[in-house]
């Protein structure tokens, strides 16, 4: 399997996405915005279509439109109006429908061109794609490393972050942009419709077994790598003759499998942890100890 160039590139791309998507996803889930990725993915499709129609780069189009969409989504969310929820829905549907319609405008354009972006086409990752993916992943991880502490507080308690002098608006937009970049990168691997799964499912699986944020992020990244490499390998091994297993869905199903196993193991580890720590501290205990003769 490793003797094929395309497979080497695919595995490397899967590895990079497997690390970056859950890392960003941990902050997104912390902020209770699990579906943000889906929204950005829908919007990015219009960018892909614009790239196809203008015969420029679909990847570049997706980056530009996804980042713009992410900023608009964040501004709508922050405005906190009651209509914000509906406005988001309008944006998502507009992105998806716009993507399909714009593709139709291209001479000889058919929606089948979009399929590889909707469901991923990791085996067609070129060397140049790999450089773009590598660069974006490095940028995403660098942002998380530099701003991680502030982002943690922001995602935990936005008002508290503001009271602590954290630049809430700047960091919120930064997080949305980072999410958009991750989604465009992951688009090649699992496709826009499943992109959010790679950000959310490994985190959901990890938090069945962890009690802390850093531990969750680390385990989610491990699960992300395991799922993307495992899913890709499985789709390669089991695609025989007429049967053709798509890598994207295989990766997502592998991640869901990891979630299932973690959810079953979770109660066991929690019980063990509960034994390790002496029962919950009663606030009156100190007093009782003092008063004892």
């Amino acid at each position: 399997m490793l003797s094929y160039d395309f497979m080497q590139r695919a595995l490397l791309a899967a590895l990079l996405i497997g690390i970056a998507a859950p890392a960003v996803g941990t902050f997104i889930v912390q902020r209770r915005l699990s579906l943000l990725g889906d929204g950005i993915g829908h919007v990015a499709l219009t960018g892909v279509a614009l790239g196809l129609v203008t015969s420029t780069s679909p990847l570049l189009g997706a980056i530009v439109v996804a980042v713009l969409g992410a900023v608009v989504i964040e501004l709508l969310r922050a405005s906190g109006r009651t209509g914000g929820d509906v406005a988001l829905a309008l944006l998502f549907y507009g992105g998806l429908a716009g993507g399909v319609l714009v593709t139709n405008l291209a001479p000889g354009g058919s929606t089948s061109n979009l399929l590889s972006y909707l469901f991923g086409s990791i085996s067609s990752v070129s060397e140049r794609d790999l450089w773009v993916i590598g660069g974006l992943v490095a940028a995403v991880l660098a942002v998380l490393a530099v701003f991680g502490r502030e982002l943690f507080l922001l995602c935990l308690d936005e008002e508290m972050a503001r009271a602590s002098g954290v630049r809430v608006r700047f960091l919120s937009i930064l997080l949305a942009v980072v999410a958009a970049l991750t989604i465009v990168v992951a688009m090649r691997v699992v496709g826009l419709l499943l992109v959010s799964a790679l950000m959310v499912v490994p985190v959901a699986a990890a938090q069945q077994l962890t009690r802390g944020f850093k531990a969750t992020a680390a385990l989610a990244m491990a699960f992300g790598v395991l799922a993307s490499l495992g899913g890709l390998t499985a789709s390669y091994q089991w695609s025989v003759g007429e049967v053709n297993i798509s890598p994207g869905p295989a990766i997502v199903v592998t991640a869901l499998g990891l979630f299932l196993v973690s959810a079953l193991l979770g109660p066991l580890t929690r019980r063990r942890a509960a034994h390790a720590i002496p029962g919950p501290l009663e606030s009156g205990r100190k007093k009782a100890v003092k008063e004892a003769p």
Binding site: Q30, F152, E159, A163, S164, F213, S283
Partner: protein, 265 residues
């Protein structure tokens, strides 16, 4: 006649004619309030009187529609590290688990430059904050899995981890059992003894009564009463003293009785 006075210290908070509009409705109508260093101010009043909004206005979390705000003498808040805020929360935590230590450590954010990894001073401050609220044995636990009273202690410890000069608490007694209230009174007494300025939103003074140096009563978005509660002395000043003050509590209660249908829990 001239009176020699020492120059007044710069107030921690100063509001002049502060107005706040939320959702198109004016919630605070021209508030004048000074909080001097070392004061322990109780902000009281019925539900919906604007207590929490006033606190959020002081901290710069809501914009003023009119009037002026100064924090440590500056129009724009700068010294975030000197302010500790304990918001009113039903639970700590977001969609991902976070340990008690992680949550408490996040209170140091204003004290730590972005590029500097956590140093000995940070770890000491976090350990001291955990210890002050009896949270050390729970430090590795998932904060959102704790009881309501324990989570309230986590929020207070998070504020203390920043080693603030001023601590602002929104309803710290809400949903906290009697034993935890006494423990909180002890913690606050230690802070006050260290010279920390305290501003509390309270429904009732409870065990905190002996610490309060001034109470401000809000009604319909305006200050209707400011008073100095009787100075506790002798036994009353002792921490942990079961404080039943025949005249302190009714000051505010009788005030509400006057213009309001009596509020009794």
């Amino acid at each position: 006649m001239t009176v020699e006075t020492a120059p007044a210290p710069v107030p921690v908070f100063r509001l002049r004619g502060a107005r706040v509009r939320l959702g198109g409705r004016e919630v605070l109508h021209g508030i004048d309030l000074d909080v001097a260093p070392g004061e322990v101010v109780a902000l009281m009043g019925p539900n919906g009187s604007g207590k929490s909004t006033l606190v959020r206005a002081l901290l710069g979390l809501v914009p003023l529609a009119g009037g002026e705000r100064e924090v440590f003498g500056a129009r724009r808040p700068r010294d975030f590290g000197r302010l500790g805020y304990v918001p009113q929360r039903l639970s700590v935590g977001g969609g991902v688990p976070a340990t008690v230590r992680e949550v408490v450590s996040s209170g140091r954010i204003a004290r730590r430059p972005r590029w500097r990894p956590s140093g000995a001073a940070d770890r000491r401050a976090v350990a001291a904050a955990l210890d002050a609220l009896d949270l050390t044995p729970l430090a590795g636990r998932n904060a959102s899995g704790l009881s309501g009273g324990q989570q309230q202690r986590v929020l207070i410890a998070r504020a203390l981890a920043g080693e603030p000069d001023v601590i602002v608490m929104d309803e710290p007694l809400a949903g906290v059992d009697a034993a935890s209230q006494e423990a909180l009174a002890g913690t606050l007494a230690r802070l006050v003894a260290d010279g920390v300025t305290v501003l509390l939103v309270l429904h009732e003074l409870g065990p905190l009564a002996p610490l309060i140096t001034r109470s401000v009563v809000l009604e319909h978005g305006a200050i209707v009463h400011e008073g100095t509660p009787p100075e506790p002395s002798g036994d009353c000043a002792a921490p942990g003293h079961d404080h039943v003050h025949p005249h302190a509590a009714p000051t505010t209660a009788s005030l509400w009785d006057g213009g309001y249908p009596v509020q009794k829990d």
